[in-house]
Symmetry: C2
Subunit: 318 residues, 2 copies
């Protein structure tokens, strides 16, 4: 049997057929065109699914389930996207509309960060564990929590918003309205802001920094700028990374003290820094986690599924 995962993003809809080894056997995508009537988005999801099955020579009846990973606030039980920031969904019954368009009637829906955490728990960095937490460091900070082999998102499915835990009361403004959220310090957006602030400070002080050169080569300041300049030995960049990693380690230590998961995995663009990122975080985490050396420690790992997390996580939804 096969399952299908749908990664519904603000820019692209990506669909993949996944086999029993959790591998994507075939995938395809199309632009979301988020501004249109959302019914057309469902039409395109159905077309991608039907087309993929034909191309792969798989009959639709061989598809055991379809799982949609969608941004925003979703109700997995009713299959309704209640609200999404980047998509025109308001109480949109995406699952029932998709059922009208494909043969498979076993359709699941989850928030995209939750689906990614589920994918990592079943087939990625936290495979084999009962309790794991994943955070995604991208435009924002997404979170997903797996407890006792099940996704946990609260009694109203709105929980696991791990990015919206304040770590600096009264600090940097977050998009959610609070001040000092983990997301306002640990997202790629926050790192870009810190990098720009450091570049401005250096310019003001007449201090030379590779940050300017790296940003010019990239054509913009990105989440990689400071990491690249720091690797080249730039002290100002090192200060940015050190500040950023201090906040990141603070939030991760909070999550360890709260959940003590077997594995805490880090995904999203910033996670491309790999184990060198994890190494930068460990000193502070080891010094600050509760229980110290008396308890078996949570392992911090880089997420494995990368850009396929939404498809694989979606395909594995139950």
């Amino acid at each position: 049997m096969f399952t299908i995962g749908v990664d519904l993003g603000g820019t692209n809809i990506a669909v993949g057929i996944v086999n029993e080894k959790y591998e994507i056997v075939k995938k395809a995508s199309c632009p979301t065109q988020a501004e249109r009537d959302p019914v057309f988005i469902v039409d395109d999801i159905a077309k991608l699914i039907i087309g993929l099955c034909q191309e792969a020579g798989i009959e639709q009846k061989e598809i055991a389930s379809v799982g949609i990973a969608a941004p925003g606030s979703v109700d997995p039980v009713s299959g309704v996207v209640k609200y999404a920031n980047n998509l025109p969904f308001r109480d949109f019954p995406i699952c029932s509309l998709l059922k009208e368009r494909i043969e498979c009637q076993n359709i699941h829906l989850e928030n995209d960060a939750n689906a990614a955490a589920w994918g990592e728990a079943v087939a990625g960095a936290a495979k084999g564990t009962a309790h794991s937490v994943m955070i995604t460091l991208g435009t924002g900070v997404g979170g997903g929590v797996v407890i006792d082999h099940k996704l946990y998102s609260g009694f109203n499915y709105a929980g696991a918003e791990l990015g919206h835990m304040v770590i600096c009361e009264g600090g940097r403004q977050c998009t959610c309205g609070r001040k000092g959220c983990f997301e306002a310090y640990a997202s790629a957006t926050a790192l870009i802001q810190m990098t720009k602030e450091k570049m401005a400070a250096c310019e003001k002080e007449g201090r030379a920094t590779l940050l300017t050169k790296v940003a010019a080569e990239q054509g913009r300041v990105s989440g990689r700028t400071a990491f690249m300049a720091a690797k080249a030995g730039d002290p100002a960049a090192e200060e940015v990374i050190s500040e950023y990693c201090g906040y990141l380690a603070c939030g991760l230590t909070n999550l360890i003290n709260i959940f003590q998961p077997e594995v805490l995995s880090i995904g999203g663009g910033i996670s491309n820094e790999g184990d060198s990122l994890v190494n930068r975080l460990m000193d502070k985490i080891v010094a600050e986690r509760y229980g110290g050396s008396t308890v078996k420690p949570t392992e911090i790992r880089i997420a494995k599924l990368k850009n396929d997390a939404g498809i694989i996580g979606g395909a594995l939804l139950k």
Copy 2:
């Protein structure tokens, strides 16, 4: 059938027989005398249990289970207290030692904050819910998490340390070694410190405040001092309470965004302020919780079991 709960504290050992309606039918206590060999503490727990059964006219074989709520780090599976701050326990096999002294061989062990959260979930403020969180505002800030009708404390049983979530990175020193923990701002100890700081500032500025009068009447500054003076209309006390409640609401909102429990209950000494405390917190929580008015909100309630939380929570352990 009956069950027995043991609330093992740094000062007293309290034991109670609990009936099927979750009521304490008889209880007794003795001093812990924490400095002695811990085997004598187990002797006293056994004596209290045997004595209570005799007094209540209940045969020991009518006791279905005994549950011990102990401070510190415990392993509920092996029945071992690994470490406790206020008691001389280091990898102490309390359950097996108690089994040698009483007839009942079904003995459970839990951390005291977890046991209290379990008591509230089954028989208290969160009765009837599947997912609930409890925090205890006392000397420290304790936490307990119930997910899907089960206590959750991580893969190593060291989790749910909700007081050791940093809300002010680099802020007030916490006893755990971190700076800026929720506990360092929301415990009774923190409130006492804030009250003393305000009294010192008022004295320095020559500003009159009822805080001094209330503290003199109490014979000391307590967690109630600022609440009492604020109720009498003292502006300086109102400033203390407003600051304290701001931090408390910040941490509670974090816990809502993370867990979205059906009920978040508040126990411990500070919770004696009752619904007026909850009312002071709600404006900030309602403004800051994720999902706003689009999701069913977590209810904030004062815990119900009060000083019996350890006994009832222990007696209900499974």
